[in-house]
Symmetry: C2
């Protein structure tokens, strides 16, 4: 089936991108790596020149409405003027100094005020730093080693959690136990009689494993996992690195009334400035103060000033409501287009972070062809990862996105009359 | 002995710093953590307001000549105008984008051109990211698990390497073997007959373990460890995170003619902007391309533009020679002052990264009192960690530093007539 799917031709110029890919391949292994590696999606530009609001331009000058938001970090829009002004004000004083700047205290106070369960905050640079710190804090607090992780969940790219095993040792994973998302029985089964070995259960606010339909959390599961952690004396870690501040301003499980013990944050916390954080409850404060974690740039004051401004603007603009509203219109429009052109699709997850997939799409071939057609029409989407809506999206941006995506469905239908029909 | 050492009184104002410490203690475990935690050195301000060149100001407005350089990152001086202009140019285009900006290629090309052994480069955010990536690459390349680490060496703050064990599991360290710096026999002894288990030996360019006299590398040891890695088929990882670009522009062991296989870089690479890198040889290129590592901000283009400008300016200003020259004058002046006031001190390591210690100084009490006196005289030094000289240091800065440090020795002698006398 996949051999019949034609990835399409891109009418847009790609000469600068092609040249940069060639140069990159000489001086970077494979030319690029990690989640931004576009080798397997040649229709998606590898190199980006600039961005503003909900638009971005590739190195060949092609314009896109941005439905990836730099894979999550951009939540108020690229180069948000309020955030950038706050960053510039701090930059004139200093960034990487011999100690933290006062803004570290203001940001921690803002997080404690904003995040429902937070009694304290710590800062780092990567989402992986924050998820790893949560595990270390839970281990220090409990004196136990084991961490329960949902099979297939992404919690970062350190050896203990990276999704591809090259260079990873058995010891790196020796203390992991696996459960199925939304399945409390699978947690009990994974733990068995080893309740006194479990330091923490880490869980995403919803199932957002790349390449799969997303799955919202069952509120009963959220409550059950909270109760089970209390029962066995383990920490509940809610990994809000990807979803944080897009679903709820005070934590993604706040609408359920379920409070984690520890939360790692990153991505959207400073609208693209490099920052991560851990928040926790007083019960875990002493343990958090007992571990040694640090980084040369963790107290960088510019990213913290950007984070403080981002938290303020998200609240002031009621950004979650806006993203939810626009995301809802995006969902309606995409599903209308898919139906119009006769494609049987799934469109899963929260409206602000949707995942589009074609049913029975072997090796994501239709999704890859669709995203190529979307890129060619100025809509930046990814075929195997959830999209992100930002608060900068206007109705003009939405119209451009829906028009381009409708055109992509039409083109796909024209070239593949039999594929994906319902 | 330590009970007799008086830390001295600080005539400088500390009211703002004191207030910020109090607020921080409410919302951050212990108020601060990691290497910037000044709780045990109350004479050192915890919070820094601003910095320019080789000077910085604490939140109470006290001015210091900076001999810590933000613990290494600041190498051209705080807020270097050339670096900041390059960063600002990139910032106007974009920072955290949906893919890397062209500057990623330019920076990788510059590193391959600059670093003698480098055939390729990869980028990250923390020094710990880079040291961990080197281990993962070595493991992927060799199919082996064990890493040899010098006892007491600092290679970052992830569970496999952080110097304090709270929250660390036995599994995190299961694949480490330990040797003594500058002792090739200790390497052979640690490996024994397990040569086919060793993925890599990681080594600092000189011994710079905090709290100890520093020790330059014995050139014969460097050559022997290189030959031994070749003999057993393991990777030689030269951890240049702390020393990189201060001792030699192309790698800290270049003067010895000893080339590592893999080098982690961070700290000074972008003059304080958050950036880390790994460079490696073609032999490790395929393995480097096989691992999955990434971070939301790793392709941040502003830090890369700052890095590119930093590499260029370091070369253009012959920064290593300047730092070596000024560092040499600092050493001469400090040793003269110590002798004048009758203190028996050690002043170890490269001139650009010296470590001052008092002989027989139980619990570093004299060093702590000395650094308090230095802070009170406007010289920012640390009592238990090597200092850093930057290329921004002028003869005026040096005079201010030497004057303040001489005054600190004098004050220490006045209050402790018997201590540390030779």
């Amino acid at each position: 089936m996949t051999t019949h799917v034609d990835a399409g031709t891109d009418p847009r110029h790609r000469t600068v991108d092609t040249d940069l890919r060639r140069r990159a391949a000489a001086v970077v292994p494979n030319g690029m790596y990690g989640h931004l590696d576009m080798r397997t999606f040649p229709a998606i530009p590898q190199f980006i020149a600039r961005a503003r609001g909900a638009r971005l331009w590739d190195v060949d000058g092609n314009e896109y409405v941005d439905l990836m938001c730099s894979w999550g970090p951009v939540i108020l829009g690229h180069a948000d003027p309020v955030v950038e002004e706050a960053a510039e004000r701090q930059r004139r004083q200093g960034d990487c100094l011999n100690g933290p700047a006062p803004v570290m205290v203001e940001l921690a106070e803002a997080l404690v005020r904003t995040v429902a369960h937070a009694d304290w905050a710590m800062f780092a640079k990567n989402g992986t730093d924050a998820t790893t710190m949560c595990c270390t804090i839970a281990r220090a607090a409990t004196g136990r080693d084991a961490i329960l992780v949902a099979a297939g969940a992404y919690h970062g790219a350190a050896p203990w959690c990276t999704p591809f095993p090259a260079g990873v040792t058995a010891a790196d994973r020796a203390n992991l136990l696996h459960y199925r998302f939304n399945d409390i029985a699978s947690i009990r089964a994974a733990v068995g009689d080893k309740t006194d070995r479990v330091a923490a259960i880490i869980v995403s606010p919803f199932r957002h494993d790349a390449g799969f339909d997303q799955e919202l959390v069952d509120p009963a599961f959220a409550r059950d996992v909270r109760a089970y952690c209390d029962e066995i004396g383990a920490a509940l870690i809610l990994d809000d690195v990807r979803a944080g501040f897009r679903l709820h301003h005070g934590g993604s499980w706040e609408p359920l009334g379920v409070h984690p013990d520890l939360t790692p944050w990153s991505k959207a916390i400073a609208n693209g400035h490099p920052l991560a954080a851990v928040t926790g409850t007083d019960r875990y404060r002493e343990a958090a103060g007992s571990i040694f974690v640090t980084g040369s740039f963790w107290m960088g004051a510019v990213a913290m000033a950007a984070g403080l401004a981002t938290l303020g603007e998200l609240e002031r603009r009621d950004a979650v409501a806006h993203m939810s509203e626009l995301g809802g219109q995006l969902r309606t429009g995409v599903l209308d287009s898919a139906a119009r052109w006769g494609f049987d699709v799934t469109y899963t997850g929260p409206a602000q972070m949707p995942n589009l997939a074609f049913r029975d799409d072997v090796d994501h071939a239709l999704a890859i062809a669709f995203s190529a057609e979307a890129q060619a029409r100025g809509v930046y989407v990814h075929p195997k990862h959830n999209w992100f809506v930002s608060a900068a999206m206007t109705s003009d941006d939405l119209d451009m996105a829906l028009g381009g995506l409708d055109g992509a469905f039409a083109a796909l239908r024209a070239r593949h009359p039999q594929h994906g029909a319902r």
